[in-house]
């Protein structure tokens, strides 16, 4: 049965509430497209969201959804997946939600290698609360709480996930939609912890304070600041490498846990 994005997105709820020029709609459409291409049953998908602009994505979805507290989406998803490994569990987090307040859950979810798909909408600031700096805000950026320029270096989300043990790690931007769709599909299909870091635009806050007053200017910026050569990327200099950073085969948590259950049953039979 052929499926399309409106098997997953509630058409009646459009347009999205996100600001004019925000890239979240592009990411959500790419996710729905991946669901459709993979012919996933809505009842077999659980989308877990945190708090923030991107955390509102579940408002538009007709899959199972669990919208939780700030930073805890991966932890809640861990419980969902642990008790029902057959479910496709997709976790949507912003950079503030997933990498800053939720940073501890992020590295441990990657290390644990439970079969979850994390999709980070990374727009370098807390959009919902007025554009404050986050754990991925590039150094020297201006935000509503770094009006003299941020003095904190950012996380490289992909390098962090990779070194923490994720099975699949990729990055694209909302300008580069084709690779974005490809990586999201690969991430959902991958058994093990997978991450797609999506560099997003926030013309309302980050763009406005950093000399990019429109979404067009921000899209130009993404186009000019990106490279498909991973070795040439440098997040600290706002040079975004697009591509797959990791794609490794290793046993996921649930597969290993079946062995734990066997051993326990042997002990207590």
């Amino acid at each position: 049965m052929s499926r399309n994005i409106f098997d997953y997105i509630i058409e009646d709820r459009l347009p999205f509430f996100w600001c004019e020029g925000c890239g979240n709609g592009i990411i959500l459409k790419s996710i729905a497209q991946a669901f459709a291409d993979l012919e996933l049953d809505q009842k077999n998908i659980v989308v877990v969201t945190g708090i923030g602009c991107w955390g509102k994505a579940d408002d538009y979805l007709k899959t199972n959804c669990l919208h939780v507290t700030h930073g805890r989406a991966l932890a809640a998803a861990t419980g969902v997946k642990a008790v029902n490994p057959k479910l496709k569990v997709v976790v949507l987090m912003g950079d503030g939600d997933g990498l800053t307040i939720g940073g501890n859950h992020f590295i441990h979810a990657a290390r644990r290698n439970l079969d979850l798909t994390a999709i980070v909408s990374n727009n370098f600031n807390y959009g919902m609360t007025g554009g404050q700096y986050s754990g991925t805000t590039p150094e020297d950026s201006f935000t509503s709480t770094s009006r003299y320029g941020s003095i904190e270096p950012p996380f490289d989300v992909c390098e962090l996930a990779k070194s923490a043990g994720a099975s699949y790690v990729a990055r694209s931007t909302v300008y580069h939609v084709k690779p974005l769709e490809k990586y999201i599909k690969a991430a959902i299909s991958k058994k093990g912890f997978s991450l797609v870091d999506v560099i997003n635009i926030c013309p309302t806050h980050y763009g406005r304070l950093n000399n990019m007053k429109s979404s067009v200017e921000m899209m130009e910026w993404l186009k000019n600041s990106s490279t498909t050569k991973i070795e040439e990327g440098n997040i600290y200099e706002r040079k975004f490498a697009i591509g797959e950073f990791a794609d490794v085969e290793k046993l996921d948590f649930s597969t290993k846990y079946v062995e734990v259950q066997k051993k326990a049953k042997e002990k207590y039979k």
Partner: protein, 376 residues
């Protein structure tokens, strides 16, 4: 065949949880509750359940909600410092109406405090630890047997009312060893499953008893659950009338069913002039004090609260009616006593309080009673 064992209170909690049908535990190690995690990690996988040690208590409690929404009976155990962190997502469990059981083996605080020493200072934290208006069910065992029996009831209440249930224990009850009968006498209750057609299902539409039937992720029903204010569909609804309806329903679904939830035990109350109201290790000492005082001719009795929250207003009122004076022994500077004072009117109520990290002994209680009565 009914199994008889000699176990710790903490171990009995795990036996009760497994009997109730627990399939998921997520937690973070902390004294004096760690035996619960250790035994759960050994036994849950043997029952097709999953044990997972999370990176912290914030994540543990979030994982509990996820597992519960995916259909598993879920529990965790910690102590006060862990509850401080879990409080965030205890609110999540209240709002998403995710059944789960949270054990707090209380230790001496504040903060890290005295990690290995008992206290009963988290009584109000259990009631109001998470922000916002809400109801809370909290059970408190006094014996190892009650750790088992009440744990089954804690799961039953969680499932029946779709709510997190606190299981307040204390270091003394958690670590003492007593005889435990692993009986089958308590019926096991599962969450109410929807009966409507999948296309008609609204995950937060409740009937008369105010508890919405619960489908899980992966069933034939689609479920939309949210920490944010939502209506019967589970999707956001910010209208004032909706918020009012939801917050009142979440509260009423507990307070409309107090007759099912309040569990107390009475000892020598028929003719008691001196009434103790206590829970946990302090109820044990009170019971002993009742025996000694009666041998000395003082008519004492004990109301043991096994349900701490909601507070047993009616029962406390009833036992206070014919009492001359009421004593509330508790290992804090006075938490439960204020609830007792709230309901007993003009009766004199005296606290017996200890915060030096040692338990209140029967002799501490007797001394206080005699002092107030002028017997010494």
């Amino acid at each position: 065949m009914t199994d008889v064992k000699f176990l710790q209170g903490n171990e009995a909690c795990v036996e009760g949880a497994l009997k109730a049908g627990a399939k998921f535990y997520a937690g973070y190690p902390i004294t004096p509750s760690s035996e619960i995690a250790e035994l759960a990690s050994r036994k849950l996988p043997a029952c097709d359940g999953v044990f997972i040690q999370m990176e912290d208590e914030l994540g543990s409690m979030a994982a509990l909600v996820g597992a519960s929404m995916a259909g598993a009976k879920a529990f965790t155990a910690t102590s006060g410092p862990g509850i401080s962190l879990m409080s965030e997502n205890i609110g999540l469990a209240i709002m998403t109406e995710a059944p789960c059981v949270v054990i707090n083996v209380q230790r001496s605080g504040p903060s890290t405090g005295l990690a290995t020493k008992p206290a009963q200072a988290d009584i109000m934290q259990a009631r109001w630890g998470t922000h916002g208006d809400h109801a809370m069910i909290a059970l408190y065992p006094t014996t190892v047997q009650e750790c088992y029996d009440l744990m089954i009831k804690a799961f039953n209440f969680a499932e029946r009312f779709r709510t997190p249930v606190f299981f307040l224990s204390d270091e003394t009850v958690g670590h003492m060893r007593e005889k435990l009968v692993l009986h089958d006498d308590i019926p096991i209750i599962d969450r109410p499953f929807p009966k409507v057609a999948p296309e008609d299902y609204k995950p937060y539409l409740a009937g008369e008893d105010k508890v919405p039937p619960m489908a899980h992720f992966g069933s034939e029903y689609l479920v939309h659950a949210s920490s944010s204010m939502h209506d019967e569909t589970g999707y956001p609804n910010n209208k004032p009338e909706n918020a009012d309806k939801v917050i009142r329903r979440l509260y009423d679904k507990i307070y409309d069913h107090l007759d099912e939830i309040i569990i107390t035990k009475e000892f020598n109350l028929q003719d008691a002039d001196v009434v103790f109201v206590a829970c946990g290790v302090s109820a044990r000492s009170s019971r002993e004090a009742v025996q000694i005082l009666r041998q000395e001719g003082i008519k004492a009795g004990l109301l043991q609260l096994n349900t701490v929250w909601p507070f047993a207003d009616e029962k406390v009122k009833e036992v206070a009616k014919n009492a001359e004076m009421i004593f509330v022994p508790e290992m804090n500077l006075g938490q439960m006593i204020n609830e007792v004072k709230r309901v007993v009117g003009d009766k004199p109520v005296y606290g017996i309080n200890k915060v030096d990290s040692t338990i209140i002994t029967p002799y501490d209680i007797i001394e206080k009673v005699k002092g107030v009565r002028g017997d010494v």
